[in-house]
Structure formats: structure tokens, C-alpha cells
């Protein structure tokens, strides 16, 4: 029988490297872990790791168990947190996943009133997912996903929450600043500043440059995630141009010497969705979040 402790041991050993350290982090003795694993091995009749010198290398079987541990343990831990919250009279935690960088600013405007309204609900925002936002939703790593790419599949529900236009931000004195709109070719001799994510997920590339087989003179990424401000500062000081939601740029046009220009004749129009697990979509404090998001 694979028990929770076995998985915890395997996880900690692969994390810390040695049985001894794993034992410390689990508040047990090295001997306990050694015995526990030995027993499991003889029950299942497989070796979990082999000793190469003094390092423990996971076997095929061990890898399977580690993968199981990484999938299961977070869920157990989260349920325990949930129980604590229920015990404390709270509703629970709404874990929001973000797959849309500029949305961060927008999300803040939704979360603030939400926290007011639901004082007994915690909010937790996550931005990194091993298997993408959809995977995180299926795995119960998050409860709601803010994304521009909905996925209408059984078990999941996606609701559109807001529309915006993606625009090019340039310095007010930039050569392009006078134009009504820019073409993909216009960008071939500028430095483009973006969030540090894959090119396929950057709309300015996937929906504008790539279809026209154009590419910018130079591509710079900003390392930190929350700092849309920094990107705009860079644009303001003429280090390059960037692509951001129109509503976001508007907030800065008074403070900084920047200008928003339409991308292409018709502009690039985007929609943001919130994805939920169908089961949970009727829970009051979940529904309320989506409702607030639609208003914002």
C-alpha cells in the first residue's frame, strides 16, 4: 500500500538529495525513512532508488512514484488548508491563475472590491504553471484561470469578462507617433519590448508580425513580471516600443511622454476569459468573482 508518508519521503529525498536531510525536513529520523522505504520496496517488490556511490538515483518505478507524489501531495495539502479555513468559519480560498500578463493590473481592480465583499474568502494569485493554465485548472492547482485562450471542453466553463484593444506604445517623439496606425513592416526597424514569455503567446508576434512574416529590429524582454511600469518607462525614455492593452496605456498618457497607436488598420481586438471547473461554477463566492470581473 502506497501511503502518503512514502510519497512525502520520495518527494523530499528527490528535493534535498539525501535521506538524512529529507528526514530532518519531515521531522523524523533517517532510520525511520530507511525502514519505511525498505518496507514499501519489499511490499511492492520493486526498488525505488539505487545507490550510485552515495547519491540515490531514482529507478523507473521511483520516477513513477515521484510523479505521483508531485501530483497528489499538493492536493492533499490544499484540502487540509481548506479544512482549516472551514474550521475557522471561512468560505475558503479562491486560487486565481493568470495566463495574461497585462491583465495583472486589471485583476487588481477586481480583487480589491472582491476582498471587501467576501471578507471570509482568501485570494491567491498564481502565475507559473508546469502544465499550463488549463492543466493547473484540471489538477485543482487553481480554481479560476484568467486567460485570452478559452477552451470549451466538458468539465470546464469559460466566461468572457472583458474586451480590449491591443495597441502599440511609442515615445511621443517617435517617428511612428504621427501615424494613425502601424503596419507590421513599420516595426521591422524598432526595438520591441515584451514580457518574458514564449513568442507564440505574444499577440504582437502571433497576430501581427508573424502573419506578415515581419520581425522587429530587436526584441528585448523585461525580466520581472509585475512591472508593466518599467516597460512603459523604457518606452518613455525611447529605448524601444511595446504592445499593451489600450486601457492600460491610457492611464499613463498624462504622466509619461508616450502615445498609443493602432496595430493595423482595424486594430487587434482581444477578449479575456475566466475559466472554472464546471462543478464549482455554481458556488456563490466563485460566481461572485466572475460577476465582479465582468463589471470591472
Amino acid at each position: 500500500m502506497i501511503e502518503r508518508t512514502h510519497l512525502a519521503i520520495i518527494q523530499q529525498v528527490s528535493l534535498r538529495g539525501t535521506l538524512t536531510e529529507a528526514a530532518i525536513s519531515l521531522h523524523l529520523t533517517q532510520s525511520a525513512l530507511s525502514h519505511a522505504i525498505k518496507k514499501l520496496e519489499s511490499q511492492l517488490n520493486v526498488k525505488i532508488w539505487s545507490k550510485e556511490g552515495r547519491v540515490l538515483r531514482l529507478t523507473q518505478a521511483g520516477e513513477s512514484m515521484l510523479s505521483l507524489a508531485n501530483r497528489i501531495l499538493p492536493q492533499l495539502e490544499h484540502t487540509e488548508v481548506l479544512m482549516k479555513q472551514i474550521a475557522a468559519g471561512q468560505k475558503g480560498t479562491l486560487r486565481i491563475g493568470m495566463e495574461c500578463h497585462p491583465c495583472y493590473q486589471w485583476l487588481l481592480t477586481v480583487v480589491a472590491p472582491y476582498l471587501e465583499l467576501w471578507s471570509d474568502v482568501d485570494v491567491d494569485v498564481k502565475q507559473k504553471f508546469q502544465f499550463g493554465g488549463i492543466g493547473a485548472l484540471f489538477n485543482h492547482d487553481i480554481d479560476a484561470l484568467v486567460t485570452p485562450d478559452p477552451l470549451f471542453k466538458r468539465g470546464l466553463i469559460f466566461e468572457p469578462v472583458f474586451d480590449y484593444e491591443l495597441v502599440l506604445v511609442v515615445n511621443a517623439d517617435h517617428q511612428l507617433a504621427q501615424q494613425d496606425y502601424v503596419t507590421p513592416e513599420d516595426l521591422s526597424n524598432v526595438t520591441l519590448i515584451t514580457y518574458p514569455i514564449e513568442i507564440e503567446r505574444l499577440d504582437i508576434f502571433s497576430k501581427f508580425m508573424l502573419p506578415a512574416q515581419s520581425s522587429p529590429y530587436k526584441h528585448k524582454t523585461i525580466e520581472t513580471i509585475e512591472t508593466t511600469d518599467i516597460m512603459l518607462q523604457m518606452v518613455a525614455s525611447n529605448r524601444g516600443v511595446s504592445a499593451l492593452p489600450a486601457w492600460l496605456v491610457e492611464q499613463y498618457t498624462n504622466a509619461l511622454p508616450i502615445k498609443a497607436i493602432r496595430l493595423g488598420k482595424k486594430g487587434i481586438h482581444k477578449q479575456i476569459f475566466i475559466g472554472l471547473r464546471e462543478q464549482e461554477s455554481e458556488i456563490e463566492y466563485v460566481k461572485s468573482f466572475v460577476a465582479l470581473a465582468k463589471q470591472a
Copy 2:
């Protein structure tokens, strides 16, 4: 600490209704379960169920734990099976999910040589998924998904394995049998026989009738899943018409008085994909399955 036994108890109780029956199925006494749950409740400081008369009704907290149990226990059980297989010198099990009914016949032609080639790999085919095929793949309920709807997301890989044309099957003496192709309107006075799945997932509706805002005179579904034969028998005896892959119909045109007709001038062309988890896509016996599928 939520342990595996706790989850097993909660699952069995919600399945069988009473503690006593759950105890029997777990080879324990009723007393053991009562004590175990009592302890958990006092540790977490939440009630798991409340007694309404003699039935146990899960509380909010209990529901969370049940959901956790249903997600986690199958994964533990599967890993144990895997361990047994590894212990026995086997490679493991390839659990194939199917989201494409007519593909069943085709899959058989792939599985047969695969079993020959990989005598130390078991194959398991599943067709029902609580959260859809994609969900099953993310949840590790299956290892490969046969589907017409690929989903290019991080963590998953989809490979096209074969193309086919969807055709209308009619009785050889049917009024439509003489036509080179049929229009959506042609179908408005026939009985259409399909697999028992949602209309949105039936291509004959979603790609042919619905865009033309047409609908059949009558819509009949066949209850059992594997029986494409039955559907063709129905067509052969003039009880209605159906939509199936061309290659499948061809196999029966000699034996039965049926005829395949193109749907629309250009026909409906479909592609079938196999989806895998990225992590596992490099495992030899998994790769080999996709390779064989491409050949078939």
C-alpha cells in the same frame, strides 16, 4: 493529516451508504471506520458528515474530501498496478482513451499488431470520461487520447495519425443513392441514426446540418457503443441513414445493400489525432504506439 484510509472510507461510505457496508468492503470493522473518522474530524476540527436519521449526509468539508478521494485514489491504485507490472518485468499499461466512436474499428487494427510487438505492455481502452478526454489525460486516467479535436497546450502533445472522409451511408435503393453528393436540405426528410453523444460532437450536425440551419426529419441514437455494425444493419434495412467514415463503410458495401455518398460538394474531411502528455511522449512503448497508428 489526511491519510489514504480516510479518503478510502469517505469514498466507500458515499458509495455504499452506510459505515457498516463500507467497513465490509474495506475488510475492516465498522468500529475501525468510526474511530478513524472521529479522529480525523477532531484533528481537522471539521465534521465530515452529519447524521440525518440513519443516513450520513456529507457536509461541505466532506464533499471536498470526497472530491479529493475520487481524484487521488484512482491514481494511487494505478501506480500500484504499475509497480506490480514493473515487478513482473513488464513495461506497463498503455491506457488509451477514445473520443471518436467510429475510430473503434480502426483502433483495433492498430492495437492488434501493437500487442504483438510489445508483449510486455498491456493495453486498456476507455471510452467514458467524467471531465472529457483532455481532462482524463491531465488527470492521468489515460495515457493516450484518440480524438478529432487536438489541443495544442503546454504539457500536451498531439500528433495527427490519420485522415478520412465522413460520408453519408444510405440503403442502396434509397432515393438519395443516385446522387453524387447530398446537400443539408436533402437530409431534412430522412431519419438520421447516430452514436449516442451530444449533438455538438457529431460532425454531421456541427459541420453540415447546423451551418445550413437544416435538421433531419428524425434523429435516432444507437444505445450500445461498439456496435457500428448495428447502425449499418439499420441502414441496410432502410430504417434510416447515417454518417460514418468512408473507409469503414467500404468494408461493408459488398456484404450489405448500402451506399456511401459524399456530404456536400467537397465532402467532409476529418483528421484523427493522438494526444499524449509531453513528459511521456518519449517513452519507447508510447512512441511506438503513435508510430504504428500512423502506419495503419
